[in-house]
Amino acid sequence: MTRWTPDPSFYPSPREAATAPAEKLAYVAAFDRAAQRPDAIVVLDTDPESADYGRVVGWTDLPHTGDELHHFGWNACSSALCPTAPHPHVERRYLIVPGLRSSRIHVFDTRPDPRTPQLVKVIGAQELAEKSGYSRPHTVHCGPDGIYLSALGGVDGAEGPGGIAVLDHTTFAVRGAWEADRGPQFLAYDVWWHLTQDVLVTSEWGTPSMIEDGIVGELLLGRKYGHAIHFWDLAKRRHVQRVDLGDQYQMALELRPAHDPTRSYGFVGVVISVEDLSASVWLWHRDGAGADAPWTVTRVIDIPAEPADPADLPDLLKPFGAVPPLVTDIDLSVDDRFLYVSCWGTGELRQYDVSDPFHPVLVGSVRLGGIAARTAHPAAPDEPLAGGPQMVEISRDGRRVYVSNSLYGSWDDQFYPDGVGAWLAKLDVDPERGGLTPDVRFFPRGAEFRGLRVHQTRLQGGDASSDSYCFP
């Protein structure tokens, strides 16, 4: 049913979204690595006034096992206000939750009881395969004309190409593959856009066989993982340009375009350089003036590997005597001022001031976990932590940052072979000068997650990576 006035969580511009009220709940994708028990959508209380602040207050099991929940998103967001196909009276209400391993897509209704999302629809792997030709669904974005869903794999045993499936806004039926002409694109991972400029961007990880049983050393050293990003015409659905970062820069993952629709830049994180194990963040931008100038990339952040005693390292890293930072997620605040960079290997969340996107300035850092460091959280200083800050989500007002510690089941096992555990931390941000402080009242972990690992967090009403805006 539609509303009489726009959903209050929709904002025409990022500036207005930054004034949004603080989230009271957070939704977290949790999965059972053993695939013995169902994965779950876990609900956390994020209201500091509440007696249950920082605790699990809701839990909805999935109907099957072995889905490996990973990323997820909302059925509708601020893009519903975009003027060419406005539909502002729909509700931000349903969570679209893909199983990365099972290729099943689940739809949860958060309206009847926000603390107990109800499963209302399951789209089977078969339907996704038949209608779109894709499997391993990953990123979900609410677009102006449908729900965009990136997928890593092909179907019927085919490794690829991966691409984007479009789901109907209201029925969630799979409408088909998005691409009219994919050009040279084969690998897939993330997708996002410059909505008002008719530009869609995609990135590259690997095909299912390259990732599902863990990172493959020979493929990595052979520079076979993704190392390019692709620019597309969003209206015509055609490939426009492939920009190669260089094949030593393996795994170009998270895409974070500026929220300001008049700007034409964004950041992409690279997991690892095979030359020195460093991680990097790149800025994409137009090469020259004009709305049709070609795209190019500039490496703006380098994070070096940290030397470590081989005795402290998993087999995979022993020969190197160093811990790679493994930048596996980045996130840009709604006001486009701070970029957060997760170093899952070294166990650090970095905060950069990117007011000048070409020259990021490191203004904050928090260490938690890490392959060698195992830094404890101040709320539990005697508990060494495994895993590191991985998925990072920022509140719309930019004052709170949430990090969870699992990367991807089989990869967790390689880098943290003694167990990655499960924890989720909240960091308070100084919005003026930058700087991060762990909140000692907010540290759900271990048994609270009932043996499941935690991946992406989505905040009630939207967050920094859920919405796109058509007005500056």
Binding site: T2, R3, W4, T5, P6, P8, F10, Y11, P12, S13, E16, L81, C82, P83, T84, A85, P86, H87, P88, H89, V90, G143, P144, D145, G146, H169, T170, T171, L195, T196, Q197, D198, L234, A235, K236, P261, T262, A291, C470, F471, P472
Partner: protein, 211 residues
């Protein structure tokens, strides 16, 4: 054309002009994206042209048909179409799908044409056109009279679109210069539902008049 017909056309023009989905919001977005008012103003004429094409098509068809056929059958058919379309708009969950925002003037007119047609903008004029007294003339009832019969419809569509353009321009400028797009959050009343209700009501009135 009677004064009442004219008044109804003006009112419907204002109603269409006020609807953000009919084009003024797109004009505001263009102005903000390019940071100049000229871009906003340049978007409005193509929007009006597309709207005019959509409305004129229906209006001309109705008045031309009316000049050659029995009025009651047409009125009943028109009323039934209106009620049906209005109910479909009211109950259907589907919404207009369009991904591109960098539009040339021609594409913008095309967008506006599709948007107006999908919303049944022309249909809404139906009862007004059917209620207008049949123009006196010796040729009524002959097929040859059809082209000339389309004329009143075209005039009506023109009047309607002029008012629509005036209202849309005013709203676009006020939002762009004074209010800001933040006003959308509070003031974007669900026109679609109201719109569908108007279509159904117009159909019912038309049917009642015919019977």
């Amino acid at each position: 054309m009677t004064g009442r017909t004219l008044l109804a056309l003006v009112a419907l023009g204002a109603f269409h002009g006020l609807n953000p989905a009919m084009g003024w919001l797109l004009a505001v977005a263009r102005g903000l994206q390019e940071r100049r008012r000229a871009a906003l103003l340049a978007a409005l004429p193509p929007v009006a042209a597309g709207h005019l094409a959509s409305v004129a098509m229906v209006a001309a068809l109705v008045t031309a048909t009316r000049s050659v056929t029995a009025s009651t059958a047409l009125t009943v058919t028109g009323g039934a179409v209106l009620v049906g379309f209005g109910l479909w708009r009211l109950l259907s969950q589907r919404h207009f799908r369009w991904a591109g925002m960098r539009l040339s003037a021609a594409q913008m007119a095309g967008w506006s044409f599709l948007m107006s047609s999908a919303h049944g903008a022309g249909l809404m004029l139906l009862p007004v056109l059917l209620a207008d007294p049949q123009p006196a003339g010796g040729h009524a009832g002959h097929l040859a009279a059809a082209p000339a019969g389309a004329l009143p419809g075209l005039v009506a569509a023109g009047v309607h679109t002029l008012v629509m353009l005036g209202v849309a321009s005013t709203v676009a400028l006020v939002v762009y210069e004074v209010l800001g797009v933040g006003v959308l959050r509070r003031a974007w009343f669900n026109v679609d539902r109201l719109w569908a209700g108007v279509l159904v009501a117009a159909g019912v009135v038309t049917l009642a008049a015919a019977i």
